[in-house]
């Protein structure tokens, strides 16, 4: 099972961010998602929402480029998780800067909601810069929309399990998996949102998801500068997905 780690970049500060990211670099996992901070991370839960404010103050393109380069040097893929309001006035320029920073692709959580009417042009702009567009679906994405976006992309799929990050409402995981697998065929499905313990990971692996994405569960230890708790969490994640 694959593992994607999410970090809002650069939270809580450039220095602390790099310290924690570097601790994960020797580990066996596949994808790093860097959340580019925005004023309104609408679809994130409160844990990740609060990281965006401080990360905006600490953000710099130079630091971002260095970080992405570090990630790529380990053989892991790097993806920018970006709310579309960050580039609505200049999608072309923004995608150019993301390519220049070294990202493999883009995850756009609000593309199919707030920017639905622009989905084709944004998808085209992303791919014109040689970036992968990672389809971002959840349980409320209609079948016809999933089929259309799959036809426009070729990458793995990000499936949001919960209504927002870091929260848990009761779900019928088997049913959700059955539907998304049926629609996505053999495409790799990485599932995220609300994944915070080994039991959930085992359940997700058992039903057939190809990987998990984890973010909120790492924030607390980074905030407290607690490397012991952080190491324990990511080693558990590595062990559950690759052990």
């Amino acid at each position: 099972m694959k593992l994607a780690l999410y970090f809002t970049f650069p939270y809580p500060s450039g220095e602390t961010f790099n310290k924690f990211l570097n601790r994960t670099m020797p580990l066996n996992y596949e994808y790093v998602e860097l959340g580019i901070p925005t004023e309104h991370p609408y679809y994130d839960g409160p844990v990740i929402r609060k990281t965006h404010g401080r990360a905006r103050e600490e953000f710099s393109m130079e630091l971002l480029k260095d970080t992405v380069q570090t990630i790529r040097e380990t053989g892991k893929k790097a993806y920018a998780l970006v709310y579309c309001n960050l580039f609505e006035n200049d999608a072309d320029g923004f995608m150019s800067s993301m390519k220049d920073a070294g990202f493999n692709g883009m995850i756009l959580p609000d593309l199919l909601t707030d920017y639905y009417s622009m989905r084709r042009s944004i998808a085209s702009t992303v791919s014109s810069h040689g970036l992968e567009l990672i389809p971002f679906f959840n349980s409320t994405t209609p079948d016809s929309v999933i089929k259309e976006i799959l036809s426009l992309t070729h990458s793995w799929i990000y499936f949001g399990l919960q209504p927002s990050t870091g929260i848990r409402v009761p779900l019928d995981i088997q049913s959700m998996y059955g539907r998304i697998r049926n629609l996505c065929g053999e495409r790799e499905i990485i599932v995220g949102f609300g994944i915070n313990n080994a039991g959930i990971i085992r359940d997700l692996r058992k039903v057939g998801f190809d990987g998990i994405a984890v973010g909120s569960a790492l924030i607390d230890s980074m905030e407290k500068n607690d490397t012991v708790a952080f190491d324990s969490e990511i080693k558990m994640l590595e062990s559950e997905t690759h052990g």
Binding site: R49, S139, S164, R168, P170
Partner: protein, 424 residues
């Protein structure tokens, strides 16, 4: 036989109830033309979505965010549906056709035939059932016109639990019989704003005679739920409620099929959107025309904006993207309390915004006329809310362009407890 007596339900002669009542609810979400915008938190410091775990029965919450197209209806819920009067009849309104000199056909699905007199029982039974299954001993909710409160009170009693009903103050005063029937069914009903919650007390302090709104009553019911560790039942707007109400449209589909009829247009009234959506969504894969009829005095379709807005005035619940007049909108005290809500269900709002569903707005005066016409032709006094749909249907039939069409409307309830709309 039904050709000669159109007051008798078409389905009763040769078909059993179980052939009409579906054994699954239909969830439109996977079939929408566009993705539904997800709920959003109002307060950046906390998750109101996470808070739903403490507000809703767990199974209801699961169904709120499900991707299943069909959800099995539990056997016990089916049994209670049947006891509550399902299937409701689909009746050909041939007297109305004659009155209007209409060359087409008019049918109405009559939700007033349920024991509580409206469609609201369709969503109350499953929620009360799930709450009781989870060991909850009391539920709370709000009610505008009183129909949801009535349905909740009975559903709670059927499932052996208590109910607290926050009734919008203006309706509480206008409709003493509603209050009485809620109490007969075992519900404990209070006027909202009330002194039972912090939010209600704040409002009463500034305006002791506040008429109340559905948004305030929802806030109070949710606050009371959280304060007392019980569970809250949702009457409209939320997707799971629309799913439960899909029983209306699925029954109508089957009844029309038995009669060999295909509708050209479906018409229903809209408050929060549950009866209308439950009625039309199962038909969404066809090209049938759909018209949502709201109150002119609460002009959500002509003046509302499609945007994220609060469900409840206090902002406890998540924001939803919907057509809304604003959560702080205080509607005039029209008699159709069920149409006074500031917003409309997200899936319905999206389909109105996209143009798939047309809209109409009807004045209280015109709906009162429609009530009289329907009573004098079909013998049924419809609920004032349902009369908006009837008024829209009458206008539709009067339009020469619609000659010969088959019109199906949802009469969401009876108005036998609303007769004071015609004066004392």
């Amino acid at each position: 036989m039904y050709k000669y007596n159109h007051f008798i339900p078409l389905s009763v002669y040769s078909v059993k109830n179980k052939d009409i009542i579906p054994d699954q609810w239909y969830n439109i979400i996977p079939d929408l033309p566009e993705p539904l915008s997800p709920p959003r938190d109002h307060d950046p410091e906390r998750s109101s979505i996470d808070l739903l775990n403490r507000i809703l029965p767990s199974e209801v919450l699961k169904q709120e965010f499900t991707s299943r197209r069909y959800e099995n209806i539990p056997e016990e819920v089916l049994r209670q549906y049947e006891q509550a009067g399902r299937p409701t009849p689909l009746i050909r309104a041939s007297n109305l056709e004659k009155f209007l000199n209409f060359a087409g056909k008019i049918f109405y699905k009559y939700e007033g035939a349920t024991v509580t007199g409206s469609h609201k029982i369709n969503a109350a039974i499953p929620q009360a059932y799930y709450a009781a299954q989870e060991g909850v001993t009391e539920i709370a909710t709000e009610t505008g016109a009183g129909q949801w409160g009535t349905a909740t009170a009975l559903s709670a009693s059927l499932n052996g639990i208590k109910s607290k009903i926050f009734m919008v103050n203006v309706s509480f005063r206008q409709k003493p019989l509603r209050k009485r029937i809620i109490e007969i069914y075992g519900g404990d009903v209070v006027a909202s704003p009330s002194s039972l919650t912090h939010y209600g007390r704040q409002i009463l302090k500034n305006e002791p005679d506040h008429p109340g709104t559905l948004g305030i009553a929802i806030s109070e019911a949710v606050q009371y739920t959280l304060d007392n560790g019980i569970r809250y039942l949702m009457g409209s707007v939320e997707n799971s409620v629309i799913t439960y109400q899909s029983i209306i449209g699925q029954e109508a589909q089957k009844q029309l099929e038995i009669e060999g009829e295909e509708p050209d247009v479906l018409i229903g009234c809209v408050g929060g959107g549950s009866n209308f959506s439950g009625f039309v969504f199962p038909f969404m894969k066809t090209d049938v025309e759909m018209i949502a009829s709201a109150a002119s005095e609460v002009p959500k379709f002509s003046k509302g904006k499609y945007r994220y807005d609060l469900i409840d005035t206090a902002g406890i619940l998540p924001q939803l993207k919907m057509i809304s007049l604003g959560a702080d909108y205080v509607p005039p005290p029209i008699y159709s309390g069920g149409l006074r809500y500031h917003g409309a269900a997200p899936a319905l709002s999206m389909l109105v915004n996209s143009g798939r569903i047309r809209t109409d707005e009807v004045t209280e005066e015109k709906s009162r006329e429609a009530m009289q016409i329907f009573a004098r032709t079909q013998g049924i006094v419809p609920a004032p809310e349902s009369a908006h749909a009837i008024a829209t249907a009458i206008d539709y039939c009067k339009n020469p362009e619609n000659t010969g069409k088959t019109v199906v409307m949802n009469v969401s309830g009876h108005g036998l407890l609303d007769l004071s709309i015609f004066g004392d």
